[in-house]
Point group: D2
């Protein structure tokens, strides 16, 4: 596997040189002011990316899965009822995690390729007159299907049902690449990691916590220690951690936020839309479709492409890796073999995307897919050259 | 705070350039064979460092605290009885972690500065005729007091009591710097991290698991998901992780093991003894004593130095940082203010150690400690020049 | 200008991560054995790349231009006659350098796009019955025109004329990417740099010197000191340099040779042919031609593409840089504006090449060149997918 | 040889992490605005370090020796008379370089350990009524002897003699570590490199050129091409180089100037004085003396320490390297064996210096020098702790 070509997995993303350098630091004393001074901007920067003024941010040395666990165990108690939809591998895994922690999950099954069913959430919440449901879990961007759901609609469902449950959002593969509005959407727990929109190596679980979630923290009886918000928040007061912090990734996070803000968040989102849209033009030119059922659901960070019936999406991925040294994502769970995925989040340009599209075409040709070489590239080129450098209005669809 | 001077905190250690480079890698696909091929040597290498042939090794993206939690939650159930000694901050914290996970900890209080009381362990285990005690927790090296305990003696206590409890050892600040013999000592769960003897940044919790511990795993009912050994072991079969692995640190771990084995583990241990011994010569020349009560307890990775009565050890640390840009460790918990600590583990030479000793002397002179400038340096120089390059017999004391 | 996209300039090339790490080293004492031990493999490795057993290799902290100067001033005297062909910007500059050092250059003018005229060399050498010509200068690969000449033919011309002149070859943009046979071709002075086939940053002038050239060195009266071979060779005996050596690039050179030899030189050359050939397929599909007049002259490291009459090649380059963050090369000298160049030497894959081709198409479309989007990409894809992984017979044409 | 310990050679210096990162960059197009934008601040920054407003700065991919050659060949013609003093290895080598370029050097021999004899310069210049002397060469800091000379005095000698010769100053091991005032001292050609006060790897020859030197450039007839100022200055107009520039070191130079100016040049000079003074206190405590004859000549970047009669200074260096992995400098030329040198320029702290002093003591004890262990350390500690953090008046002696 070459390390010269860009990767097209839906995270970890390609790491910009600037971030490679930012994390390549010698050991500093994590109890020193040098660390404390670096750490505060990391926390404050993430708040701006999450668009929260009232929430707190906690950063664990872990991954997104650890972030899910921290969000759950710090705010719920065994036996608590949780409402969640399963419409992809990552929503599925989050449900599984809840179950293992002794929660009682009411699962709304939805098709893989569909978004969060806000109407069914509303129905379930309205029916829950006793307010036994303590938490609603929402996957902002289903990495497995390339589906971005409407979190504002989930919030509306809660409000319409006048339900006090906390809203938990998995923003692992959306935050910092697509718009996320923690305060506006009334998100109580927002979870992400370092290796997606923040363009760093894996190793940080990043969690936004609303005041309401902080209040819940005091009563939660799920066992936790490594992931205990309370230890973390009290250590934060002293500029540090209850244990050894992931110093170099924290430095990287500060620099990552700087990069995102120098580009400007609206521009970052517009760029992701633009790159994704070019890939979608290519998919259309190939005569193929996305797993995501509706353009309103199209993710700007990952595209899951449905392969023609009788063909195997997983072979696309292994062939691309073995022959061309290019990494795409396989289909997972229910869509295993039925799709292959092109990740286009984080550090990505239209030029890089074109090499991914061109590679996919060569692979499909090798595997006798009915896809003409160059067809998708041409469609994407046409779109990219028309839109590169053009200031985009980031519509709700685009962002 | 300068980043030119070495750090003398008891971890994270100074990172060798070779490891800086090893972890500075671009993104690779963690589901590719490239990762799988890097991962297997990491696991196998750690086994050799732990000296286990029968055990398994699991590596989480977390820290040593996460390693404690993983060890506990994967092998025990809420309400299980655990036997532990409290004789320093880290043994204290581990006990606290157990309590939070609903375990019933029988605590043997020992003086901070004492080693593990194997005789009292034996008494407690012998008294536990019903074998309610499921786990014995032992801190190999108390980082807070600079005390290395005799794990073989704890094993003997278990054996003498014919007790089936699992033996858990915190080797965070000992493993890879001081001898550790997982199989020979009958250790069931060995916990360490990346940022100590392995000389890497923090970010890996590394756990050795005996076959007996693996058997216990199946019955353990503590809630866990992120830290679940079972997910990890089944993913290992496929060369990967149940979630995004900490790729760059895994690459670093492979290189770290290579460095340790190129130097030769006996030489690594002898070097740590030698550097530590020079520091102890300096302490003696200063007319001061170590927190560790007995030479047999002296740690070769960290020295906690008792400051003269009426003086403040914490000031040594803040003054060294502010005036000289040198990081030492403060006293924690019961010994807060009473000691300051010199970390000398991982990547350290006698020449580096001398600059730490010289700095400590300047600081103490500034703070009106009754310590003559140059006295400790001279004692250490004398020892270092006599022993550098001399092949050491690594006696049980030394290793 | 983005640093995410590959560069397509004809050097410096994209630097592989492995070489980025190899040159990122702390200061070591250049008079120590550590340096001497690193240096010897660098020299020996370059000899293998040059395919010389009898020659010596000298490495200056300079660039290829410095290498030309060193070759000339160490072996010739002011007033000496030199025979050279001018058929591109780099052969032109070398002639200029000779003139500035007081040499009497007999220039054979050839069309830019033509190769070295071995027949006219032979005629001139045969006519020089008094052997006033001391040196024949040959540019192996004219970076300005993308023309690779036949050095063996030049040697034959010398031999046919029974002429004792030294043969100087500029292999700056050929060596380590295309076959070079110093001993077999009877090259007396071979010049290259670090930033082309060796894939490192600029900073090394690398020179191969035949025994005959070493003999000439003793009589040469051109002034030199920094570039004096004699100082260098006598310092080499002691494992070092007459002044501070470029330590980190020397470490990089050792690693570069390792990479080249792990891939295998025939495979390196075949890869360059394959990537170049795909680009040539694209050019053909565009309906355009190369500056190089004949397929036998096609360079495998750089392609100079003639733009349609009335259009401006330089605009391609500036537009690509400004709009897409992609670097191509402009036309120089006689072909300024008439061509644009795609560099494809050093660290390059077919996937990377496709992104360059795709970018060129978008740029040409923007500039209203009569080139259909996707046409070149498709031709290159077709070729790349047919040939990737296929063992190539490296024919004389290919190598 | 360990790379963990600091180096104490008089260049290349220890490289700060910040500069390691600054030079670790991917390839960018050196003809792009990205390079042009980085390059201008490098040139302007060096001007501020040299304290010139009227001069120009040229940066070659070479070393200090190349800088000497460039200064000479661009401003003089074969046969020109040059006045120079020989009082150490580096002044000797510069004289040798001039001779090889056909210059007629009038050498004033001075003791190695003495400074530049301004009075004898004045006498020679006054005697040269026909103004045959075109150049006066002055070595600001003789790296071989640790002697810093008074350049202002040399300028006064020229002025007193009303002599129009150009003043050339070798500031390789002084500039950016000790005060240098190009305009005020009337320096016409100032030469330095990247690997000393600028704390970068070797690879840049940096030259300051007064307007008078630029005028001389037009008439100079020494042969040059790679080092031709004219090509360089005309390329500068277009933001680039006549050949491939040393891109990564240029980026490093920009960052180096930033570091120097953030610390503040007066503070940089005061720090070098302070560190050097501590080493001198140690030498005094050892009962040894410096090669430099007079405190006014003491260099703040390197100390050459005279070893007791009958002992061998070179052994100190080899023993330190072999046993302790610490690099000092040997004596060169006339003082070979008679001295060993401690380099303390560039990136150096008092704490690092103490480890060098302590190592030297161990080595001398091993070699049976009559030097008590700890004696020099104590003297340096005493001085360092008294002066660290104290704002220094940088007296003429100090700076």
């Amino acid at each position: 596997m070459s390390t010269q070509n860009p990767v097209f997995i839906p995270g970890p993303t390609n790491i910009p040189d600037r971030l490679r350098r930012a994390i390549d630091v010698p050991t500093i004393d994590h109890r020193s002011s040098l660390f404390a001074e670096a750490f505060r901007p990391a926390v404050d920067g993430v708040k701006r990316i999450l668009k929260t003024r009232t929430g707190e941010v906690i950063i664990f040395p872990a991954t997104g899965t650890g972030g899910w666990e921290a969000a759950i165990t710090n705010t719920l108690s065994p036996g608590d009822k949780v409402l969640a939809a399963r419409h992809g591998m990552f929503s599925h895994r989050w449900i599984d995690l809840c179950t293992r922690h002794g929660l009682d999950v009411e699962v709304i099954e939805a098709d893989w390729g569909e978004g969060l069913p806000a109407d069914r959430f509303e129905a379930a919440l309205t029916a829950d007159t006793g307010h036994r449901i303590k938490a609603v879990l929402a996957t902002h961007n289903e990495t497995a299907t390339g589906v971005r759901s409407d979190i504002a609609a989930v919030r509306k469902a809660l409000d319409a049902a006048r339900h006090p449950a906390l809203l938990y959002v998995d923003g692992v593969s959306s935050i910092a690449s697509m718009d996320f509005r923690m305060d506006e959407w009334g998100v109580d727990l927002a979870v992400t990691g370092s290796q997606k929109g923040f363009m760093l190596p894996a190793g940080l679980a990043i969690i936004g916590i609303s005041p309401k979630a902080q209040a819940a923290m005091e009563k939660a009886r799920c066992a936790r220690c490594f992931f205990d918000f309370r230890d973390m928040l009290s250590s934060y007061q002293r500029g540090g951690y209850p244990y050894t912090p992931p110093i170099n990734l924290i430095f990287g996070l500060v620099e990552s936020v700087k990069m995102l803000e120098q580009e400007g968040l609206p521009n970052v989102f517009a760029r992701h839309f633009r790159i994704a849209e070019g890939i979608r033009k290519a998919v259309e030119a190939w005569g193929l479709t996305l797993c995501a059922r509706d353009p309103r659901l199209y993710s700007n960070t990952v595209s899951a492409i449905v392969v023609p019936s009788g063909l195997d999406g997983t072979k696309v991925v292994t062939h691309a890796a073995e022959k061309f040294g290019v990494a795409f994502g396989v289909g997972l769970g229910e869509v295993a073999g039925k799709v292959f995925r092109i990740g286009h989040l984080g550090s990505m340009t239209d030029v890089m995307a074109l090499s991914g599209i061109a590679t996919a075409e060569m692979v499909m040709a090798d595997l006798d897919f009915p896809v003409p070489l160059g067809s998708g590239v041409r469609a994407a080129q046409d779109y990219y050259r028309a839109t590169n450098g053009v200031a985009h209005r980031v519509t709700s669809k685009a962002a």
